[in-house]
């Protein structure tokens, strides 16, 4: 059993592998050196081969692209024409790919991508080429979606694992939107999520949602890290209630769920919007085993010196191992892993460029 960890950074993609059940790691040199990799995904739906790696590669000079590898990074392919592009006359160009999300098992060749500016793209050829989901681009709310510091982007895509007609996306700012008719129509879905920075703090849309994770064992349950606020939905993202009461802070970017156990999730709280560092400068992950009702810190093996770097929205993930592995990377280029669901942590890599995203898989 090999565990593969993809680490997207500000200056390239690193692939770390472990052949001893995640005790030790070998970290590659940079793929796409010098380019930003904001999105990476493993597609495990193709039988008989290794997982396909899909990487959103953003060259600051020469623009964005998506490259795929079917040999674990041994070689990369991308089409001659841009894999993602707005149609002529759309009045926009793809600036960055923020998210790549393979669809459920019923659609083995469908892959979604979220971009800056906020748009959803859909591939039906396994992630090689994509077409704009025009219905969301044409949404009447779009002129009112605003950009945050990181830009205005769809950064979260959660296809429903059992129902291809249902997809949840989240954007900053704008909030959560859902379709239940295969993308023909989209509705905002932010009831209960606060937008403290707006005159009306409970708007229909306009929230600055940082990340949404779906409970892998109960797909109707979702977890949401907001720009201040941590929430849970029990109705597939229809309505939200706070689960921040026992966290040391309700600010942060990342939130991830256990690959199998219901109600188990992790976050990395930061002090506040105006103080973006770990609470009390302690490098701590918080885990809940009761769907966010209560949270417990996990820090054994993590740095004990005052710790300033943050964990960005896609820089935390789980693998599909037993027990589950959890991984996170920081803007100082540290990457940490646990092979016992957060009880103990160890370093995978240090001194990398700013970590933008991580994804892990076992094969």
């Amino acid at each position: 059993m090999t565990t593969l960890l993809a680490i997207g950074t500000q200056k390239g993609l690193f692939l770390a592998t472990s052949d001893d059940d995640r005790r030790t790691w070998q970290v590659s040199s940079a793929h796409f050196a010098g380019t930003s990799v904001y999105a990476v995904a493993f597609d495990t739906r193709r039988p008989g081969g290794p997982p396909r790696i899909l990487a959103g590669v953003d060259n600051s000079h020469f623009g964005p692209s998506v490259a795929i590898s079917d040999d674990l990074g041994g070689s990369w392919q991308e089409p001659d024409t841009a894999p993602l592009a707005f149609p002529a006359g759309a009045g926009a160009a793809v600036e960055r790919v923020w998210q790549i999300a393979p669809a459920g098992p019923a659609e083995p060749d469908v892959v979604y991508a979220g971009t800056q500016p906020s748009a959803l793209f859909r591939s039906t050829d396994g992630g090689r080429t994509y077409a704009l989901v025009q219905s969301l681009w044409d949404h009447p709310h779009r002129p009112q979606w605003e950009g945050g510091y990181g830009g205005q982007a769809i950064h979260t895509i959660l296809p429903h694992p059992d129902d291809p007609q249902r997809v949840l996306v989240a954007m900053s700012t704008g909030g959560v939107y859902r379709t239940s008719d295969g993308g023909a129509s989209w509705s905002p879905s932010n009831t209960g999520v606060k937008a403290y920075f707006l005159p009306d703090p409970w708007p229909e849309f306009g929230q600055c949602v940082h990340k949404v994770a779906r409970d892998q064992a109960d797909p109707e349950r979702c977890y949401l890290q907001n720009h201040h606020g941590v929430y849970r939905s029990g109705d597939g993202g229809g309505t939200w209630e706070s689960i921040a009461a026992t966290l040391p802070s309700d600010f942060g970017f990342a939130i991830v769920s256990h690959p199998r156990r219901p109600g188990v999730l992790w976050s990395f709280p930061l002090t506040a919007d105006s103080e973006r560092h770990p609470v009390d400068l302690r490098c701590r992950v918080f885990r809940s085993t009761d769907a966010g009702e209560t949270w417990q810190p996990q820090e054994k093996g993590l740095p004990t010196d005052p710790y300033y770097p943050v964990v960005l929205r896609d820089a935390m993930t789980t693998d599909d191992g037993e027990p589950a592995g959890v991984y996170f990377g920081t803007r100082s280029g540290d990457v940490f892993a646990t092979r016992d669901e957060g009880e103990t942590w160890s370093a995978v890599a240090a001194h990398l460029p700013d970590v933008l995203c991580v994804r892990a898989v076992q094969s």
Binding site: S60, H61, G63, E78, T81, A90, G91, V94
Partner: protein, 91 residues
């Protein structure tokens, strides 16, 4: 026939060539359109999908920055030398 000088960082998108003879002239847009037909991966590194010159790519026509001239409408005579250079940007 204009010649386009390809920077080292983009030569992989032009079949490894450093100089491309392009069978188009008249305007910079016409030259880039022809590059798009023959070397599409090169062209999409220079312009976005709406045909806009990427912000941190500079193109010089006979030594003149096209942005200080007429942009993509900059005249390109048949003898022109067009140089593509990444700008000084990054962190």
């Amino acid at each position: 026939m204009p010649v386009v000088l390809v920077p080292g960082v983009l030569r992989a998108e032009a079949g490894g060539e450093s100089r491309l003879r392009v069978d188009a002239d008249g305007s910079l847009a016409a030259v880039l359109d022809e590059i798009g037909r023959r070397w599409p991966r090169l062209e999409r590194r220079i312009r976005d999908e709406q045909g806009v010159l990427r912000r941190y790519v500079n193109v010089y026509v006979d030594g003149e920055d096209c942005r200080r001239s007429a942009g993509l409408d900059t005249p390109v005579p048949p003898t022109a030398e067009i140089q593509v250079l990444p700008s000084v940007a990054g962190g």
